[in-house]
Amino acid sequence: MIFNQHAFIFVFSPLILAAFYCPPLRRLRVYTLVAASFVFYGLSGIEHAITLAAGIVWVYLVTRSPAIIGNIWRLVLAIAPPFLGLFYYKYLGFFIEGVLGLGTGQESEVFDLFKDIILPAGISFFTFQLASFAVDRFRGDLPEVPDFGRFALYISFFPQLVAGPILRHRQVAGALERLTEFNLRSETASVAIGYICLGLAAKVLIADTLGSYQSVYISAPGSLSVFSALYVLFAYSFQIYFDFYGYSLIAIGLGRLFGFEFAMNFNRPYEALNPRDFWRRWHITLSYWIRDYLYLPLGGNHNYVRNILIVFTATGLWHGAGWTFVIWGLFHGVFVIVYHFASGPWNILPAFIQRALTFGLVSLGWTLFIFDFSGVKAFLWSLIGQSEAGVANPSMEAWLGLSVAALVCFGANFEKAAENLTRHTVTANVRTAGFAILFVVTLLFIDRSQTFIYFRF
């Protein structure tokens, strides 16, 4: 199930909210949400729900004993099965074909079985949460183990299950403990509604609209005029941003309805002044996870270049099993390193040039998300005017869509809009009506909406 579906909005959410706030069921809230989360996830495949459940049970059993503190073998025992699951579902096909070079020749039939493996949505997200819990237990950062229900809810909670934000247990431990006492105040409901409306609108009205304009160009990367190529370059940048940002906002809003305050995943990333700044603003919870569980254990700033390259290769691989993702990670890693050594001259540039350069580089990097290598090459030729344009240039409507996306990206502050708790009667009424209109307009277009891009990660 996905957030941008009638079934989720009109059936699933009201039912779960009703069950959650039903007074006789107050003591069962943890289990209500766990059950709801498994229904939410299980609708896309029972096998995947079983994988999730097995991961939860295993990590809980292995990590609940204090014996894990400082015991590296117990830690390996805890996290190996979830990571093996991740490897099986996400990387095995790539490993066989892309790394070992098998499965393409005469022996291909032997590997056909692995080609049909369907990736469980959000497996990278929940595997990382399981791992962070196990590592925190190993380090002794989590002396208290939650009961099983709360642990299961921490991992499987449906608003953030398939595309984050990636939560640390300590960030939600308080909310999990207070779940049965939680009462929804009108201020919290207001903020939640604001986030959900804005998130849905960002996804359905902006990201999916831009996606529909680009599809014709993405299918013919070698037949684009410079204008069309530029259009794709920037339209995809805004599309992936509003797609993922929209999801995160909805997740935050839904979390608030149940008493959880999720960490922000974005902080105006396209206003970043340099590549390092970008990674402090884009998918923040992943950046911090990588920093805390990979970069710092590797030695952090000691041996900076090596560690940055490892970290960004891992970030690339986290996003997808393929060489394009590896190169995408390295692309960012190289720019972070270049910035590290050239920060002096870079920082004296006017801020808008720094922003434009960073935005341009990030946008160029996204092409590795859209195309395979031959597609990227063909696209880059188009971008520098070396291709014969076979597809008509984007329409005025398409450019208008891109302009609106840019205006919203750089001009609007969604968090401020959602968190605004002004009680002035007229202002509050206008805001309420405005959000209701935005919600209904979003619903009007929701049938055309696509799956979230980050679901496949």
């Binding site: 009638h6 409901a189 509604i193 708790l421 509050a428 009506a433 209109i437 919600f439 209904v440 009007l444």
Partner: protein, 345 residues
């Protein structure tokens, strides 16, 4: 601050308004005006609005002699394809609907005395097993039909309880689909334009364009240019339940007793698919066809199973289940010949 109660109240109101706009039926009758060589474009109109426009048109007219009922498979056949003589003809077909809508529509027309003297009724080929509940009717009528279906299921010996549950769920499903239809940008914007253009929205288009003739039939010139479709149909899972199917045929027989001559024909398939099914019909199609023939014979209805081929098979099949209007017209002309009417043909 967003007031949650006001937010949900307003959302409800806006949704109701959107529903009203999306299903708005213009007062003007697009099928009434008769300038020659012109069609009327009804693009973007919602299915319920389209069905209602046809109903209202018929309600204002003297009773038609011949009516063609069905869905997109019969929508293209017009007076131009038939030898009608003095007979007045109207195509009552509504795309996406099925046999159950046809019967409900006929019952509704009968109530106002406007059902045609002869009703040519298309039923989807039994290999397709399409047996949807009506979606285009008003809520009150849909719910009345749903109630009748459930009651029939509970009182008749030939409908099992499992089928009653299934039928109940199908009615719920139709309500969900109907609700989802509210959120369609095309129908909403068409509704807005129609609402503010005082019913003068319908554009006239030339016969070379896609549009509707004034006899209710559709002209789709771009479809006719398509090459012959080369895909073989596969049998679909069973939807037609014998007990309910018989119940529907009985409803049709009741209408016939009220003075409507009902001629039911099974919609033909593209020859390659038809031949394949002829060699190996699916069990569900065999069962449905058996019920169809038996019930029709018992109740005195004229029912025809799908012909193996339509005349002039070289016609353009845009897909294997939508017969070319011209060729289907020749076949229907033959059925009209077999079932003579009072009006001189």
């Amino acid at each position: 601050m967003i007031n949650p109660f006001k937010f949900f109240g307003l959302t409800f109101l806006f949704t109701v308004a959107m529903y009203a706009v999306a299903t708005y039926v213009p007062a003007k009758d697009p099928f009434a005006v008769q300038p020659k060589n012109q069609l009327v474009a009804l693009d973007g109109l919602s299915l319920p609005a389209f069905a209602e426009l046809k109903f209202r048109h018929v309600a204002r007219q003297p009773r038609y002699d011949i009516g063609l009922f069905g869905n997109s498979r019969s929508l293209g056949v017009g007076a131009r394809h038939l030898s009608l003589g003095e007979c007045r003809f109207f195509n009552f077909s509504v795309g996406s609907e099925s046999f159950r809508f046809t019967i409900a529509n006929l019952e509704r027309l009968q109530e106002i005395g406007k059902a045609p003297t002869l009703a040519l009724i298309s039923i989807d080929n039994f290999e397709l097993q399409r047996y949807n509940n009506p979606i285009s009717l008003f809520a009150a009528i849909r719910w009345e039909k749903a109630f009748n279906d459930i009651m029939a299921g509970l009182t008749r010996g030939d409908i099992g309880f499992e089928d009653v549950l299934r039928m109940g769920w199908r009615h719920v499903w139709i309500e969900i689909k109907r609700f989802k239809m509210t959120f369609n940008p095309e129908t909403f914007f068409t509704g807005i334009v129609t609402l503010f253009s005082d019913g003068n929205y319908f554009q006239r288009v030339s016969p070379s364009a896609t549009g509707y003739y004034f006899d209710g039939s559709r002209n789709s010139p771009e479809l006719a240019k398509e090459a012959v479709f080369n895909i073989l149909l596969k049998p679909t899972s069973q939807q037609i339940k014998a007990g309910y199917f018989k119940f529907d045929i009985e409803r049709l027989a009741r209408l016939q007793k009220m003075g409507i001559l009902a001629v039911v024909y099974e919609s033909p398939l593209e020859p390659k698919s038809a031949d394949a099914f002829l060699r190996r019909p699916s069990p569900q199609a065999i069962n449905s066809r058996k019920t169809f023939k038996k019930a029709c014979a018992e109740l005195g209805l004229k029912c025809y199973t799908a012909p193996r081929r339509l005349s002039n098979d070289e016609g353009f099949w845009t897909d294997p289940s939508h017969p070319p209007a011209k060729n289907l017209g020749v076949y229907l002309d033959g059925l009209l010949d077999k079932n003579r009417l009072a009006c001189p043909r």
